[in-house]
Amino acid sequence: MKSRHQNRRNTLRSLTALAFVATVVVASGLGGCTDPVRDAEIEALGPEEPGVTPNAEHRPGQPCLHCHTKGGPASNKPFAIAGTIYETDQPGSKGADGITVQFVDSAGGAPRESPQTGPSGNFYVPLQDWPDLRYPVRVGLYEDPNGPPTVIMKSLINREGSCNFCHRPNLSDMTDDEIDDSRSSAGQIFMRSGG
C-alpha cells in the first residue's frame, strides 16, 4: 500500500517536472522567435491604411524587410531587397510606376529577374530570386530597361535590404526632432527633381 502511494507520488513529481521543463522549453522557444528591437520598429510603423490588405503596393515608403525577413511577421514571403521609388523629390509625390531596378553585387551577381515598380512605386526582389546576394551592391533605375540608366545611386548598398531604411520619404512641416533625424536619411528615391 505504502509503495503504491510512493509510486503515485513519484509519478506526480515526474509529471510536474516534465510540465515545468516543457513550459520552459516552449517559453524560451517563443522568446527566441522575437526581436524586441524589430518588434518596436514594426509597431512604430503603425497599422495598415484603412481598407488595405497586404499586397505588393501596401505600405509604400516603409522599410519592407522589417517584416519580410526571417523571423519577421511576413517571413513567409522574404525579400532580398525592396523599396519605393517616387516620381519626384517633393513630399507627397506619387509613386513612380513601371521603373526597372537593376542591381549588381560585389560578385557580379544580380537577381534572376530585375524587379519593376508598381503603381505605388514599390518593388521587391523575393529572396528565392537572389539567394546568393553578396554585398556591397550597386543599383540603377531605368525608365527604359533596354536604354541607359535614368538614375544611378551615388553610393553603395552595404548591407541593408530595405531601401527605405536609408531613403525615408520626404516630409513637409517637420518637427524639430524630424529635422534633426533628417541627417540620417538620404531622402526618398525619386526619378526627377521638382514638382
Binding site: P136, R159, F165, S184, A186
Partner: protein, 183 residues
C-alpha cells in the same frame, strides 16, 4: 613705484603665458597631443583623402554612417553632422567640420593600438581592429558585420590607403582610387 612696476611685469608675463598656452591648445586636437603616443595627424587624414575613402566605402547610412556607431563617419552621401533648416537632404560636399569629426572617430577607436601601429610603421597590427575588421574572417581578419571589404594586398587601393595612413606611409592616389565607385 617699484612694487607697482614689479606687479605689472608679473601680470604681463602671466598674460603672455596664458595666451601662448591657449593658442597652442586651440591649434591641436586632444587626440594629437601625445597622450596616447604618436598618432597620424588630422592633416594627413584629410589631405591624403583617407577621409574621402572612408566616407565612400565605410560611411553608408546602412553601415558606419549612423549616430550610434563607435566608428562613425560623416559625408556627402551618408550621415550629415548638421541638418538643413527645412529638413531636406543636404547633398553639399563633406564639410571640414565633418572630416575633423571623422578623424576624431577613427583615432578614438583604439588610440593606443593606433599609436603602436603608427610608431612601428605598420609592424604591430595584430589586434588593431581598424585594420583587422575590414578584412573579415575570410581574409585573415576578424568578424565584421559588413563582411570582408578589403584585402591585404598591393592591388587593393583601399587597403593601401588605410594601411599606408596608419603606418605613416600614405599615398593619396591610392585613397582617391579606392574612393571611386566603378559603374
Amino acid at each position: 613705484m617699484m612694487i607697482a612696476r614689479s606687479k605689472l611685469h608679473s601680470f604681463l608675463v602671466a598674460l603672455a603665458t596664458s595666451v601662448v598656452i591657449a593658442a597652442a591648445a586651440s591649434c591641436s586636437l586632444p587626440t594629437e597631443s601625445g597622450e596616447f603616443g604618436d598618432l597620424p595627424d588630422r592633416a594627413s587624414f584629410v589631405d591624403n583623402k583617407v577621409s574621402l575613402f572612408m566616407e565612400v566605402r565605410c560611411g553608408g547610412l546602412d553601415c558606419h554612417g549612423q549616430d550610434g556607431r563607435p566608428l562613425r563617419i560623416y559625408g556627402q552621401t551618408g550621415l550629415r553632422l548638421k541638418a538643413k533648416a527645412d529638413g531636406s537632404r543636404d547633398n553639399s560636399p563633406t564639410t571640414d567640420e565633418e572630416r575633423t569629426e571623422n578623424y576624431r572617430s577613427v583615432v578614438g577607436l583604439e588610440p593606443e593600438a593606433l599609436a603602436e601601429c603608427f610608431e612601428s610603421k605598420g609592424e604591430i597590427i595584430d589586434t588593431f581592429q581598424l585594420l583587422k575588421k575590414p578584412l573579415g574572417i575570410e581574409n585573415g581578419g576578424i568578424r565584421h558585420k559588413g563582411g570582408p571589404v578589403l584585402r591585404a594586398t598591393q592591388s587593393d587601393p583601399g587597403w593601401q590607403c588605410l594601411y599606408g595612413w596608419v603606418s605613416d606611409n600614405v599615398d593619396a592616389a591610392q585613397c582617391e582610387q579606392a574612393a571611386k565607385i566603378m559603374p
